[in-house]
């Protein structure tokens, strides 16, 4: 292995000379560095590259989301009707004809035909969904944070298969490039779900290459999952049994199981879609005796478990955040650990709840009944987190605020799941904004908020810099408010019957839509503020101590940023991950960061 074993993994080894930027020597050093990162087998570097990539995807998807909300700010516009050449069309009496439209976006004529603003809206929401799901949130926690922190938390030097890890990163890049390419070259109008028959019959856009992109991204996800399962099985530090693992590792393990078992079905689904489009194998084509609804089974067999790929690692993050910032042993460790595994198992039984309007009544009943099951382990987690916070001495810093934000939002998101699982209500709610609000509460309010919490929680660890906590707290508040304003309104819209995936709506929905759009601006400001704070931290942040929050899991036992091989000496576990009542956290120095006195912490929960 290259590099100095005691140096931080971020320390450059290239010789940049002192000729300043762009001198020949600087370029040589730069090339060395680029090559070193591009070929690295170090899980931390790979994870960091993933992190940058997923955050970039999040940025792109976010910009598109703002555009979508912009479109929905105006319900209708009255415009002149023009013909294909752009001339205003007059009626027989020689008057201008006007039409009412929600089409804020200008249309244009492409080589394949006219692109109306409705088409454009369709493309944008498809782009938004595909970017956010396949490029951002699915790899965000497992591939980015999982890569960096699972080996650190279990005291390993690396993941089980470092080369496979690098390969999955390149597959991700390749698939991502494919996807972005096809979204730019015509885009898709199918939504992220690629439902047949529209996706097989449309000659519009680049459905085939987009589907191929998602197919490739799936492999990256499978490889990551395989790698982590083996890592957790085989590379735990001496002394670390299954129940000494941090809950983030448990959650990631459960996620990996889903990734490994569900993603291959996505692969075959998308492959069949491609075959259907290119060879017309007929499986999804009613004209050949096939069944378009079969596609929905195929798709949701993956995609329902996939929503747990998005949320279960977030559960893990929240367990860490709450334990560390409450300085308290987690209530019901085993219950939380097992609930992750049971969510993973149950998630395979309930995909049919996305098809209540499309499948047979018998299947409806089966899937509806099974769907309620998943709420149980989810609720177990929430109750345990709340029980942990009870009478704890909480440090109200940014990560903890995000944990609270998660609890609030996720509870709303989770509790609006069961109404969907009730057949009679779902017939009304299906494909309305209620569904949109539900899944944004779980995916944005849950997963993304947890990602933001994790970023703040582990930022000092992987960058070695502190960030400015006070403005970050304000931004966390803005994000919370912005998010809720944006999406809570959509519950009302949904129950009143506003369907999803339309560029316009009847004027009755105007007020709520405009409030929602304004919420999205607040949200954007909050996120942008976080970006600035992080940039400031990188440029001029205070050097971080190894353990700024007083955590007990193994990642806090190494330097910030960690050394090349993670630990100077192989760690041997001597205490559990949350033994705050028994152990004083390593390097606990209140001067580094204002934290309550450990004695007080211990008194707070009666030891």
């Amino acid at each position: 292995m290259s590099g100095d074993h005691d140096a931080s993994f971020l320390k450059p080894i290239g010789d940049f000379g002192d000729g300043g930027v762009f001198s020949a020597q600087w370029w040589r050093g730069f090339r060395t560095e680029v090559w070193r990162w591009a070929t690295t087998l170090d899980h931390k570097k790979i994870g960091l590259m993933y992190l940058c990539a997923v955050l970039f995807a999040f940025f792109l998807g976010g910009v598109v989301a703002l555009m979508l909300r912009m479109e929905l700010f105006y319900p209708t516009m009255i415009v002149d009707v023009t013909d294909a050449a752009g001339n205003v069309v007059l009626n027989d009496a020689g008057e201008k004809i006007t039409k009412t439209t929600g089409e804020l976006f200008p249309g244009w004529t492409s080589s394949k035909g006219p692109v109306t603003s409705n088409n454009f809206y369709n493309r944008l929401f498809s782009l938004h969904g595909a970017l956010m799901v396949f490029l951002f949130i699915i790899p965000a926690v497992p591939a980015a944070f999982g890569n960096i922190f699972i080996p650190l938390m279990i005291g390993a030097k690396d993941v089980a298969f470092p080369r496979l890890n690098l390969m999955s990163w390149y597959i991700y890049l390749f698939g991502g490039t494919f996807a972005v390419y096809s979204l730019l070259m015509g885009g898709v109008e199918t939504g992220w779900t690629f439902y047949t028959p529209y996706s097989t019959s449309t000659q519009w856009g680049s459905v085939t290459s987009m589907v191929l992109g998602a197919f490739i991204l799936g492999f990256s996800s499978i490889l990551t999952g395989m790698n982590f399962i083996v890592t957790v099985h085989k590379l735990r530090a001496p002394g670390m049994g299954w129940f000494d693992m941090p809950l983030f590792v448990w959650a990631s393990y459960a996620t990996s199981i889903i990734q490994v078992l569900a993603t291959p079905v996505l692969a075959i689904t998308l492959l069949m879609l491609i075959f259907e489009r290119t060879f017309r194998i007929g499986v999804f084509d009613p004209a050949l005796g096939g069944d378009p609804v079969l596609f929905q089974h195929f798709f949701w067999f993956y995609s329902h478990p996939a929503v747990y790929i998005m949320i279960v690692p977030a559960f893990g993050i929240v367990s860490e955040l709450i334990a560390v910032h409450c300085h308290k042993r987690l209530f019901g460790y085993k219950a939380i650990a097992f609930s992750s595994i049971s969510i993973a198992s149950v998630s395979f039984l309930i995909w049919g709840h996305h098809m209540f309007t499309a499948e047979s009544p018998a299947a409806n009943v089966v899937f509806s009944a099974l769907t309620f099951l998943v709420a149980i382990p989810t609720a177990i987690k929430v109750f345990n987190w709340i029980a942990t916070m009870y009478k704890a001495s909480v440090t109200w810093n940014t990560p903890m605020l995000y944990a609270m934000s998660f609890l609030f939002n996720f509870s709303i998101g989770g509790l609006t799941g069961p109404p969907h699982a009730v057949l009679s209500t779902d017939i009304h709610l299906h494909d309305t904004y209620f569904v949109v609000a539900h899944f944004h509460y779980v995916m944005m309010g849950g997963s993304v908020i947890a990602v933001l919490g994790a970023l703040h929680h582990w930022w000092p660890k992987f960058t070695g810099k502190m960030y400015n906590d006070k403005p970050a707290r304000w931004m966390a508040l803005l994000v919370f408010i912005g998010f809720n304003v944006t999406f809570f309104t959509q519950f009302f819209l949904g129950t009143q019957g506003m369907p999803r995936r339309y560029a316009t709506y009847v004027p009755e929905f105007t007020t709520l839509n405009q409030i929602s759009t304004m919420g999205s601006w607040v949200l954007a400001i909050g996120l942008f503020g976080h970006l600035l704070i992080f940039v400031q931290s990188l440029v001029s942040g205070r050097k971080a101590p190894p353990n700024p929050w007083g955590g007990l899991t193994l990642e806090w036992y190494t330097d910030a940023p960690p050394v090349e091989h993670n630990f100077a000496h192989e760690p041997v576990l001597t205490h559990g991950p949350y033994d705050y009542d028994l152990v004083v956290p390593p390097g606990w120095d209140p001067a580094d960061y204002p934290l309550p006195d450990p004695e007080l912490v211990r008194k707070a929960h009666g030891h």
């Binding site: 030097k157 089980a160 399962i229 083996v230 085989k234 490994v260 079905v265 017309r280 007929g282 005796g289």
Partner: protein, 227 residues
């Protein structure tokens, strides 16, 4: 506890030198991990093929009669049966190759791998020469390229059957082809003396992969050719 990174070298058997990667505590862990990883991969293979099986099951259930007609008409069970036997035998020979490694008999590994690859190639030649090419000539192809004229069912179920037949067997055939290359690579490594009683993980994983290819065919064969 310190991590041992180099195993003791046995000079009598040069291919016994085995250095495990630095992040493992010992070679046994590494071996177990490689195997577990392979099994997970095989699990994903099974789930991937389950898409074809599911599509098959659904349409077999919806159109039992036409499905059977199409199967009898388009596919010759003798070819499928022969290929099944070939794959079964190749599964056995690759097991023998692994035994060769365990017993430290280089040529036993080599000959068995060769036999495996000959079986694999036979499979492909029979499949392509006796099935694919005649079918392509006759136009018995998936929907968009179907030019066969009037099939046995007289309905579009012909398209459907052939569609599933083509994508399932072609995907399986691709796996066989990949297997041929990996086994070929194993043969090279055998001749370089890289496999021995302590170091045959790669060989064993190749074997596992080869067996799953066999097992998938064991299911595809009766489903497509027989019932």
């Amino acid at each position: 506890m310190t991590s041992v990174s180099v195993e003791t070298t046995n000079t009598a058997e040069p291919h016994e030198t085995y250095v495990h990667q630095h992040h493992w505590r010992n070679a046994d862990d590494e071996k177990d991990a490689a195997k577990l990883g392979m099994w997970l991969f095989l699990g994903t293979e099974a789930l991937m093929f389950s898409g074809f099986f599911c599509a098959y099951a659904v349409f077999r259930m919806l159109y039992p009669d036409t499905w059977k007609q199409a199967s009898d008409y388009y596919l010759d069970w003798r070819i499928g049966g022969f290929n099944t036997l070939v794959l079964v035998i190749s599964s056995f020979t690759i097991v023998q190759a692994i035994r060769g490694a365990q017993l430290n008999k280089k040529m036993m590994i080599f000959w068995n791998l060769l036999a495996t690859n000959i079986c694999a190639l036979t499979f492909l030649v029979v499949k392509i020469g006796w099935e694919y090419i005649p079918k392509i000539r006759a136009g018995e192809l998936p929907g968009a390229f179907f030019t066969y004229g009037h099939g046995p069912t007289g309905t579009t179920h012909d398209h459907l059957f052939l569609g599933i037949y083509w994508v399932a067997t072609a995907t399986h055939g691709l796996h066989v082809l990949i297997g041929v290359f990996v086994i070929g690579w194993c043969m090279i490594r055998t001749m370089k003396g890289q496999f021995g009683p302590k170091n045959y993980m790669f060989l064993e994983n190749t074997g596992l992969y080869w067996h799953i290819v066999d097992v998938i065919w064991i299911f595809l064969f009766p489903m497509l050719y027989l019932v």
